[in-house]
Amino acid sequence: MASPDDFLRWSLSSRDVEPVAGLVTAPGIDPDLLIHSLGERLAPVTLSRPWFLPSYATVPDVAARPDDLLGPLALDARLSIEGCAAIYLTWARPRLAPGAFAGPALAASFGADAVEAVAPEVELAGYRLMLAAFLGSLAGYEAAWDWLRVLLLRGPLNRQLSIMGFAAAAGSLPPAVEGFDEEAVPSRRQVLAAAGSTGWETLVPSPELLFQAVDGLRPESTI
């Protein structure tokens, strides 16, 4: 079974959060200061430039997509190195219409991002958002879990597997989901149960896991 660290190391080392990965290898950065700084800086809200969500928010009208499922800019992340390093994350919840995550509306959005006509930039935006949401969820942002629900529901099969796998690794699968086997892509029934569950909001975030993961990156990053 994968551990949360597996996902975090993946997220942090990905090009999609490149500045974050660079942060742990930058010369002159005191690792202890870095960890302290993460803890200090994750909580405040600082909004800077739009990052990647606009391309996801402007996805062409996908069949059966609830009009207000996708919100405007929801996340921003940047790196500032001014003697120390900091990550700024700003989260907004996806705009979900009442009932969008239940019943027919929920089922109608299943796999919406897997349709042939999805443009590369939309695919990439979904992928980046998933990586960032892994980080955000463990840093304590409830909105990150909301985005993971959206991405899970709309995702192609590999994305659905990754998000369910992440939730399982974090011990966070909603109680409504039964029988998820990491060795196979989740069934439609399991995805709908997970995406439609409000149990996600009761999950216990763990900033410690985030910091441990950054810590875990260091030996690897010196190779």
Binding site: P120, N158, I223
Partner: protein
């Protein structure tokens, strides 16, 4: 060269169809053949440089492998698995029937994601369970589809061999 048996799940299949990589099926690239060839060259180059000890290439390779498994427009390989159950779950994705293909070929001719990751100590996340092997461009020599079953996720519904038995 050694033989290898792979499995693949898909929603549609007929005997005459080309089973091609996602990049070759992209509607967004002006020249999908050139684009696919370029991506394959890039992956080969990254592996060669990583094998030679280039740390930057190793990290790029880690991202590239994960990206190819998550982004169809980046994947110049036909996705297959060594695992029947994984391929079956793709065939029945969305809880509807699909086709399970058995493919044989040369174990040196495809991209064995997990072997590459093991060789370089790369992150796998949940996609390791896919046990994925990629066939470059499309299923063609030395790879051959040797059997196809129509599989149904409904409990109790038996697989139907549609090829070669028909």
């Amino acid at each position: 060269m050694a033989g290898v048996t792979l499995y693949r799940g898909q929603k549609v299949w007929d005997e005459a169809m080309d089973i091609s990589a996602p990049t070759l099926r992209s509607a967004y690239m002006p020249d999908v053949v050139a684009y696919t060839d370029t991506l394959l060259l890039l992956v080969d180059g990254l592996m060669a440089r990583a094998d030679g000890g280039d740390a930057a290439a190793r990290r790029d390779l880690e991202n590239k492998l994960l990206g190819m498994q998550q982004l169809s427009y980046e994947n110049p390989y036909v996705s297959c698995s060594r695992s029947t159950s994984t391929a079956r779950s793709f065939a029945t994705g969305g809880d509807t029937p699909g086709y399970l293909l058995q493919i044989t070929g040369d174990d040196q001719a495809g991209l064995d994601y997990e072997a590459v990751r093991t060789r370089h100590g790369l992150t796998r996340d949940s996609v390791k369970y896919l046990d994925e092997v990629g066939i470059p461009r499309k299923v063609a020599a030395p790879f051959t589809v040797v059997a196809v079953w129509l599989v149904d996720p409904t409990p109790g519904v038996a697989d139907i061999e549609v090829y070669p038995g028909g």
